[in-house]
C-alpha cells in the first residue's frame, strides 16, 4: 500500500503565512514610524529651542511675537482638566461598578450596562457640544452651590466621557473577586458596606488602580471636548474657572491654521505630541502591567 500524502512543497501555504505575518507586523511598524517621526521632528525643534526653556518655561506663545516655548502652561491646563475629570469619573465610575457588581439584580444590570455602553460610544465631539450647550450655562444655574462640580465644564464632560470606561473596568475587577470571600465576610456578620469596603474593594484594588490609570491616560489624550470647551489661552493657573489650553487643544489649534511644513511652529506640534505620547504611553504600560499581574492572582 502506498502512502497518499504528497511530498510536494505547498507554496501557497508558505506565501499566505508570509502575507499574514506582514499584516501583523504593520502594528509594530506603526509604532516605529510614530516614534521615529516624533524623535526626528522634536530633535530638530530642540536644535532651535533649548530643552530647558521648553520644559521649564512658564510662557507658551509660539505663534505671536515675542515668542516663547515653555510647555508648562499647556501641561498645567491638561492637568487641570485631568484632575477635574478624575474627580467626576473615578468616584462615580467606581460607585457605578460597586452598584452593578454588588447590589444590582440581573434585570437592573441588563438595563444599566447598555446605557454605559451607549455613553462610551458617543463621539467626543458630541461631548464638546454638550459642554457648550448645557454644562457651561448650567454650571452657574443648576450647580450653583455644589462644590464638587466647581471644575470647568471641559473637565466635567471629560469626566462623564471616561466614566463608562472606569465603571466597566472596575466592574470586571470587582466581579473577578471570588464570591467565597464575600460569603465568608457576610457569614461573620459584616454588613454589605463592610463587605464591599473591607473585603471586595481591597481584593480588587490592582484592577481598580489599572482602571483609574487608564482613565487618566484617556483624559490626557482627550481632544475635541477640551478644544471646544476649555478655550485656547495657554494659562499657567490653578483656577478651573479660567480659560486654559491643553496640549491636545494646542495641536488642534495649530493644525487648523495653515502652518508650512518645516517652520518652527510646525515643529512645535511634534514637540508637544512627544510629551503627550510619552506620558500616555508610560501610563498605559503601567496599567497593562498591573492588570496582567492581577489576572495571574485570580486565575
Amino acid at each position: 500500500m502506498t502512502l497518499l500524502v504528497s511530498r510536494k512543497p505547498r507554496w501557497g501555504e508558505a506565501i499566505l503565512r508570509q502575507l499574514f505575518f506582514l499584516c501583523a507586523i504593520i502594528s509594530v511598524l506603526t509604532t516605529a514610524i510614530v516614534i521615529g517621526i516624533l524623535v526626528v521632528e522634536t530633535s530638530s525643534f530642540f536644535a532651535e529651542v533649548s530643552v530647558i526653556d521648553f520644559l521649564f518655561g512658564t510662557q507658551w506663545r509660539p505663534l505671536l511675537e515675542p515668542k516663547a516655548y515653555g510647555i508648562l502652561p499647556l501641561l498645567a491646563g491638561t492637568m487641570l482638566v485631568v484632575v477635574g475629570s478624575s474627580l467626576v469619573a473615578l468616584p462615580v465610575g467606581l460607585a457605578c461598578a460597586v452598584y452593578l457588581s454588588e447590589y444590582a439584580t440581573d434585570r437592573t444590570r441588563n438595563i444599566i450596562k447598555p446605557v454605559l455602553e451607549i455613553l462610551a460610544g458617543i463621539p467626543t465631539v458630541v461631548y464638546g457640544y454638550f459642554a457648550i450647550a448645557f454644562v457651561t450655562p448650567g454650571l452657574r444655574v443648576v450647580f450653583d452651590d455644589v462644590q464638587i462640580f466647581n471644575a470647568a465644564s471641559a473637565a466635567i464632560v471629560v469626566g462623564i466621557m471616561v466614566l463608562p470606561m472606569v465603571a466597566s473596568l472596575c466592574d470586571d475587577a470587582l466581579r473577578s473577586v471570588p464570591s467565597s470571600l464575600r460569603e465568608g465576610a457576610y457569614s461573620v456578620g459584616a454588613t454589605s458596606f463592610e463587605v464591599t469596603a473591607r473585603v471586595v474593594v481591597p481584593a480588587a484594588l490592582s484592577g481598580i488602580f489599572a482602571a483609574f490609570v487608564l482613565a487618566v491616560s484617556r483624559a490626557i489624550g482627550e481632544t475635541m471636548a477640551v478644544t471646544l470647551a476649555a478655550g485656547a489661552t495657554p494659562n499657567l493657573t490653578l483656577n478651573p474657572l479660567e480659560s486654559i489650553q491643553t496640549m491636545t487643544a494646542y495641536i488642534v489649534q495649530v493644525s487648523l491654521g495653515d502652518t508650512p511644513s518645516g517652520s518652527l511652529a510646525y515643529k512645535t506640534l511634534f514637540a508637544v505630541a512627544s510629551v503627550l505620547f510619552s506620558i500616555t504611553l508610560l501610563m498605559n504600560l503601567l496599567a497593562n502591567r498591573v492588570m496582567r499581574k492581577y489576572q495571574e492572582v485570580y486565575e
Binding site: R10, L16, R17, F20, C23, A24, I26, S27, V28, T30, T31, I33, I37, E41, V92, A95, C96, Y99, E102, Y103, A104, I112, L116, I118, L119, I122, P123, T124, V125, V126, Y129, I132, A133, F134, I160, T191, S192, F193, E194, L214, S217, G221, T223, M224, T227, L228, T248, I251, V252, S255, S261, F270, A273, L276, F277, T280, L281, N284, L285, A287
Partner: protein, 296 residues
Amino acid sequence: MRSDLADHQSSKTLGARSLKRRHLVARLFKSICLGFTLFAVGVLGLLIFQVGADGLPWLDWKFLNNFPSRFPERAGVKSALYGTLWVVSLTALIALPTGVLAAIYLEDYAPKSRLTRIIDINIANLAGVPSIVYGILGLAIFVRFLGLERSVLAGALTMSLLILPVIIISSKEAIRAVPSSIRLAAYAVGATQWQVVRFHVLPAAIPGILTGVILALSRAIGETAPLIMIGALTYVAFVPEGPMDEFTALPIQIFNWTSRPQAEFHELAAAGIIVLLAVLLTMNALAVLIRYKGTR
C-alpha cells in the same frame, strides 16, 4: 506586628459600633452607589434631550441635501454625510482584511516567540495611544510625505491605523473562542493549515469578528481629531467622487458649527449630531443583529 495590632484595633471599633448604625451606613452606602449610577443614566437622558430639543426643529430633507453655508437656514450636511460614508467605506476596505489576517496570524500561525509577544504588547499599547497622535502620523506620512494631500484616501489610511488595534484585538478573541477540537479534527483528516483556517476557524469566528469590526468602524465614524489634523476642516461644497478628492466629515462639520458663537449654529450642530448618532445606531443595530444570528 504593627498591622496586626491595627487590624485588631479596627475590628474592636467595628464591634463597638451599634448594629443599627452599621446597617444605617450600609443602607446609606447602597443609596450613594445607586445615586451615582442613576446620575450616569440621567446624564445620557439629559444629553439626548438637549440634542433633540436643539436639533430636531432643524432636521429636514433640506438639511440632509444642502451643502454647508454661512447662512444657518441654508446650511446642510450633504458633503459631510457623503464624506463620512466615503471615509468609512475605504477604511473598512483597508482595515478589515489587514486586521483579520493579522489576528489569524497571531492566533493560529505565530510561533510562541519573543517577536510574537512584542507584537501582542505593542498592539495593546497602540490601542491606548491618543487619536490625535494618529492624526500627526497621518499628517506627516500620508498628507506630506506621500503627497496624498487632504484626500479621502489620506483620511481613510489614518483611520485604518487608528482602528487596526481594535479590530485585531476583537478578532483575536473571536478566533480564540473557536474550540481547538474543531481545528484538531480538521488536521486529523489531513487538512492544511490554510484549509483549517479557511473552512473551519473563519466560518465559526465570523460573527464575532464582524461585531468587533462594526464597533471599530463606528469609532472611526465619530473620530474628529485625526481628520482635523490631516486638514479636513475646510469649506467643502461638493460630494467626493473618488478617493483622491477633498472631503469633510460629519464630526468635523459638528465641530465647526459648535465652535461658532451664534446659537443657530449650535442648533445646527445638534441636528448634525442627530444624523451622526443615527448612522452610529444603524451600525450598532447591525452588530447586535449579527451577534444574535451568530449565537443562534
